[in-house]
């Protein structure tokens, strides 16, 4: 996915027509082992993520995932957005939750690019990419949404 010859996150967006076009939702499974590995990686020992007994006794009645776990999902390809991810920097991230993710459930994830703009700054031209992402259950009920801003060096070619 990353082109190592392309230094510093130079990015190209083909056309503004792709803005606000949702990717085709991708099926993701909230796997117990993946949740455990993620909780380990962030050093979070919360029993609701790893202890089946504690989770069963909780009001959720099952294991849940940490709030930022949806970062692990595949959100599908935004057709026409050729953004080289290598070198991009995360600027802002917001999650809005209807409920936590349950371990073992299948979710459907999609994303869209809502805005792209270039700004000059002390470090030269920077391009801002604004994304919206959504995870829904099998009935297309929203579980959570995300808004994220990633920043690349240089101007976007449109």
């Amino acid at each position: 996915m990353f082109n190592l010859d392309d230094k510093g996150g130079r990015c190209t967006v083909v056309s503004e027509r792709i803005l606000n076009q949702w990717s085709t939702p991708v099926k993701n499974v909230v796997e117990q082992g993946a949740v455990r590995k993620f909780a380990d990686a962030i050093g979070d020992l919360n029993p609701l993520y790893r202890d089946e007994g504690a989770a069963k006794a909780s009001r959720y009645g099952r294991l849940i995932a940490p709030p930022t776990f949806s970062m692990t999902f595949d959100y599908g390809e935004i057709v026409g957005a050729d953004v080289t991810e290598a070198g991009l920097i995360h600027g802002e991230q917001t999650f809005t939750f209807v409920r936590p993710l349950y371990v073992g459930e299948t979710v459907w994830c999609s994303a869209r690019l809502t805005d792209v703009y270039t700004r000059g700054g002390s470090l030269g031209k920077m391009t801002f990419y604004l994304y919206e992402r959504r995870c829904a259950d099998a009935n297309d009920e929203t579980i959570l949404t995300e808004r994220m801003t990633v920043i690349g060096k240089g101007g976007a070619e449109q």
Binding site: A41, I42, T68, A86, G87, H90, Q93, T96, R99
Partner: protein, 142 residues
């Protein structure tokens, strides 16, 4: 069950680190974010970053733990957002803090709290700044 949330209440401080390169490799593997600015020194230098930087989402996850620990098993996080203000590098210690900014009771049995949260490094620089909203629904209707 009720919650002891009031304006000005501070969340127990959560400290993580020093962040190691292995932490970044482990987070890359667990999250699937293999952007080489986090793991490949040469790439990060050529990208003008002066060396590898931590995933912003790793710091956000630490702040997420600060919030979920405070919320406990009987409350939910409704919203959680941050702005990444400064880069985190291997060797940095991350100190996460939060305070209750507002407590809202709009419906009977439903209490919400707005939190302000930050993460700073061991040099006192703010690396992440954000907010969160918690919801507590009193039993038995929750």
């Amino acid at each position: 069950m009720t919650v002891d949330w009031h304006k000005g209440k501070e969340l127990p401080v959560l400290t993580r680190g020093p962040v190691t390169r292995l932490d970044l490799v482990r987070y890359a593997g667990a999250s699937g974010d293999f952007n080489p600015i986090h793991t490949v020194e040469e790439f990060a230098i050529e990208a003008g970053l002066g060396g590898v930087i931590a995933h912003g989402m790793l710091t956000m996850a630490y702040v997420g733990q600060l919030i979920s620990d405070f919320a406990g098993p009987d409350s939910d996080i409704e919203e959680f957002g941050v702005r990444f203000r400064a880069m985190v590098r291997p060797g940095d210690v991350i100190i996460c803090r939060g305070v209750v900014q507002e407590v809202m009771t709009q419906e009977v049995d439903v209490t919400r709290a707005k939190l302000q949260v930050t993460a700073e490094n061991n040099r006192g620089e703010t690396v992440v700044k954000g907010s969160a909203r918690l919801r507590h629904v009193a039993a038995p209707n929750r």
